[in-house]
């Protein structure tokens, strides 16, 4: 070991081998602290947990535990800590980067049974919830008080709030209302040694380092969250949406910049290219103009007077920046129809293609034109189609690469296509992931976005919470060895990344 690596945990240098676990003993110990319903170790019973929303990676763990209380979570972690067994936490399993992919020699800890809303305080505008509560359920439960929980990832019907914390989930309204990190006041969690910690509090800040920020987007690698206090937002009285069509995607991108430059922060600002509108139109009949090269959806919310004023300003900007058509939603039904198309983009991709691969790079908005032009070139290079939906307001793009896994070579080409988009995102001054997380999917691209010293810092941050590196090992932050291998592969080219991982 050199001086530079002397203080690094072992997992920072290479992937650690956990195969020497005494499985029978582990199961016995878990059985002693959990009710029978909360422990699965038959491989057929564990099958539903073998993957998350990124189903090209699958792995059955040693055991699945479903604790119902914080005390049970702590007991499980203590056992795994003592035995040196990896633990992967899982919410609803809707994640798109394989963050909840089980570890072959580890325990999968599902928080699905911890799904109670513990307290709603309408005056303080807070709700205390368990991690397995679904995102949308919070808004439903607090609606009678005129409140809602603002972050609305597109999977909000199914995704859990614990998973939202792990990924720092966003949504279509986050330009105005913030990400998960902006809407959580306090977290209770259990560290790998079984100690309960409270991070943040019911005021607006907490003493010491901002560990609350560190927990958001940490992909279950620092602690297991058992309780979350979310901030609730008063429901706007009224909302209206403008649909603007453009004959050129670059012009649409410039119009987005112009809206922001005019001092408007829209409640939502989304872009779809022509292939995307065509795909959703035949599916949900949103009434999108099919001859447009790109459409923008631009939403305003607030009091009726405020919305009228803002919509007028938005329309003026859009029209002066080359919109060929501007439609204002006439009623709530039409507004919902405008959004139905955007929200159906992923399933629509699933209808026109056997499989699709969703990317998540974020770039500075002004580089959008370059990115879209490059993606058109990549479609030819990899001989695959790509449709583009885009959180235009915050530069977060979701290119959907269409492929058929049954056609030999297409999955590999789709992955290479995706990697090329992520590489370009980094080169354009952006990031490889805006809201889906790194997980296992983008772990190699982390070697490109961060240098050795930065990646070592990540491992040291992790070690401050989890010195043995047992929480979700092998995810999010690549070991130095992995990056060295990736560097070599990248030079040789033409090889499939992660040959050690089974493909389906």
């Amino acid at each position: 070991m050199t001086a530079a690596t002397a203080s690094l945990p072992e997992n920072a240098l290479r992937e650690v081998d956990y195969s020497q676990v005494d499985v029978a003993r582990l199961i016995g110990e878990l059985r002693a602290v959990l009710p029978p319903v909360a422990l699965l170790h038959d491989s057929e019973d564990m099958r539903p947990y073998e993957c998350d929303g990124l189903s090209i990676y699958r792995q059955v763990p040693l055991a699945v535990v479903l604790p119902g209380t914080e005390a049970e979570v702590a007991a499980v972690l203590k056992i795994c800590h003592a035995a040196g067994v990896p633990v992967v936490a899982r919410g609803a399993g809707t994640g798109l980067s394989g963050g909840a992919l089980p570890h072959a020699h580890g325990v999968l800890l599902s928080l699905a049974r911890m799904n109670k809303i513990l307290n709603i305080d309408p005056l303080a505008r807070t709700a205390i919830v368990q991690p397995g509560v679904r995102n949308l359920r919070i808004s439903e439960e607090v609606a009678p008080h005129g409140l809602y929980y603002a972050p609305d990832p597109s999977s909000q019907i199914a995704c859990s709030i614990g998973g939202n914390v792990a990924e720092n989930a966003g949504g279509v309204h986050c330009l105005k209302y913030g990400l998960t990190v902006h809407n959580v006041l306090r977290i209770r969690g259990v560290t790998i040694d079984g100690e309960v910690v409270e991070i943040g509090n019911h005021g607006l800040d907490a003493p010491g380092y901002d560990l609350l920020a560190l927990m958001h987007g940490s992909e279950g690698m620092l602690a297991v969250v058992t309780e979350i206090t979310v901030k609730l937002t008063p429901k706007p009285q009224f909302a209206q949406c403008v649909l603007a069509a453009f004959d050129d995607v670059i012009k649409a991108g410039e119009a987005v910049a112009a809206v922001i430059a005019a001092g408007i922060i829209p409640a939502g600002l989304e872009m779809m290219d022509q292939p995307a509108t065509a795909a959703v139109e035949s599916f949900v009949h949103a009434g999108y103009p099919l001859d447009a090269a790109a459409i923008l959806l631009c939403e305003s919310d607030g009091t009726p007077e405020e919305v009228a004023e803002e919509i007028q300003r938005m329309c003026a900007v859009l029209e002066s920046h080359g919109a060929t058509e501007v439609r204002i939603s006439r009623d709530e039904a039409e507004r919902m129809r405008f959004w139905a198309g955007r929200k159906a983009a992923f399933p629509a991709a699933g209808r026109i293609s056997a499989d699709y691969y969703c990317m998540d790079g974020t770039i500075p908005r002004k580089r959008l034109g370059e990115m879209l032009t490059a993606i058109q070139g990549m479609e030819k290079t990899y001989n695959l189609r790509c449709i583009n939906v885009f959180h235009a307001g915050d530069g977060n793009m979701h290119p959907l690469i269409l492929f058929d896994a049954n056609v030999p070579g297409e999955l590999e080409r789709a992955e290479e296509f995706g990697a090329a988009i992520l590489d370009l995102s980094v080169d354009l001054g952006g990031t490889i992931t805006g809201e889906h997380g790194v997980g296992i999917e983008k772990i190699n691209q982390m070697c490109r976005q961060f240098n050795v010293a930065e990646r070592q810092t990540f491992f040291r941050v992790k070690a401050a919470f989890d010195p043995k590196g047992l929480l979700n090992p092998g995810k999010a932050i690549p070991s130095m060895n992995r990056c060295a291998e990736f560097g070599r592969m990248h030079v040789q080219g033409g090889q499939v990344p992660h040959p050690e991982i089974e493909r389906f």
Binding site: D121, L123, A124, R125, G146, L147, N168, G170, G178, L179, V181, H182, T191, E195, V197, N201, H202, G203, L204, D205, A206, P207, G208, Y209, D210, L211, L214, G217, S218, L222, P234, K235, Q237, I260, G263, G302, T303, E305, E306, E309, T362, P364, R365, K366, H391, G395, N396, G429, T431, T433, G434, E435, Q449, E454, T457, F458, R460, A464, P467, A476
Partner: protein, 354 residues
């Protein structure tokens, strides 16, 4: 690395080798804040200037030694602002100091704190490594959020080189209203308004007067004024009021009595501490001038579900910040050690031993 960055990195490596503390300092406007000031001064002011300001991206990237006033003037010229309305506490305040202190002004409860606007950071750690985290984009979950971690860490984890901050457009319209009521009713009222879709951007209560600022679209502010009633302040009086709070230049903050800041749930009952009080942030920030002992102030803050900071006071031996529970204290120590293994960066400024 630039020449300045290079020379700072060398200075840090030498300090680490000889285990001599460095005191990272911008304009010194917040020297009063936190605990001890120990070590050789590393003056950040030579590392100055806005690196990039893209008004249409709502992002500014700026060097740490840049005067805060210079940054705010540059934003103002483009019709933008720092959403967290940071206090300067003196003409020489720098951007680095603003981020390291992590202090936010009157707009905090509605717009967010310094940490909420932090997008990216470049820093030198205690090994002299130049590290970059986050970026200039709004959404970024690649790696742990070290940029936000730096906010409020009082220079104990690294020397900030530059930061990328989300900025906001200036509100189209503003109005400030005044109401006479007692503290209890004021806190209840702040919370009731907070639960309605009103464009409230700041609140304060002192000596029987509740003051509310509304910011937003012209129509929204006009409608809210009509709905809330109260006495509307002139533009000049309104500006003076909020500026006096932001910079702690108004009368309440004068004098020698220790100034405590209690951060509590917005609905918390009265602090019950002896001395005068001023309430901000919709009830979530309570300033108290009291000679009561630190232990009883902190016990009261804890009982209310918050924490207490000895913000200004002659005797910081009681600790400037609320003591951490053992589990969190251990994590803090390990984090400090991971960024600054030789303990040379602003040691003891935040907590003893950090």
């Amino acid at each position: 690395m630039t020449d300045i960055e290079q020379s700072w990195a060398e200075q840090i490596r030498e300090a680490a080798a000889s285990k001599t503390p460095l005191r990272i300092r911008g304009g010194g406007s917040k020297d009063f804040y936190g605990q001890q000031l120990a070590g050789t001064v590393l003056d950040t002011r030579a590392h100055s200037g806005v690196i990039a300001h893209e008004p249409t991206e709502l992002v500014v990237k700026v060097r740490s030694g840049t005067p805060l006033a210079e940054l705010e003037a540059a934003l103002l010229a483009e019709g933008q602002m720092l959403g967290f309305e940071p206090p300067h506490f003196g003409p020489d305040a720098t951007v680095g100091g603003c981020v390291a202190a992590g202090l936010s002004g009157p707009r905090r409860a509605s717009a967010g704190a310094v940490r909420d606007f932090m997008l990216g950071v470049t820093l030198l750690d205690g090994r002299g490594n130049r590290l970059h985290f986050g970026g200039e984009v709004m959404k970024n979950v690649a790696g742990y959020d070290v940029a936000r971690l730096m906010t409020g860490s009082l220079g104990t984890l690294g020397v900030l080189l530059d930061v990328s901050i989300k900025v906001l457009p200036l509100p189209v319209a503003e109005a400030t209203l005044r109401f006479e009521m007692d503290a209890l009713e004021a806190v209840a009222q702040m919370n009731r308004w907070g639960g309605q879709p009103l464009p409230v951007s700041a609140t304060s209560w002192m000596a029987g007067v509740l003051t509310v600022r509304l910011s937003g679209a012209e129509a929204a502010v006009t409608a809210a004024c009509a709905m809330l009633g109260g006495d509307r302040l002139s533009e000049q009086a309104a500006r003076a009021h909020w500026q006096g709070l932001r910079e702690q230049s108004q009368g309440f903050f004068g004098g020698e009595a220790p100034l405590w800041r209690l951060s509590v749930p917005s609905v918390a009952e009265a602090t019950g501490l002896a001395g005068s009080q001023l309430i901000e942030w919709g009830g979530a920030q309570r300033w108290v001038r009291t000679e009561q002992d630190a232990a009883s102030v902190r016990a009261r803050a804890s009982a209310l579900g918050g924490h207490a900071t000895l913000f200004r006071g002659a005797d910081k031996s009681v600790g400037a910040f609320h003591p951490l529970p053992p589990g969190l204290h251990t994590i803090h120590q390990r984090l400090k050690h991971s960024f600054d293994p030789d303990g040379i960066l602003n040691p003891g400024r935040l907590y003893d031993g950090l």
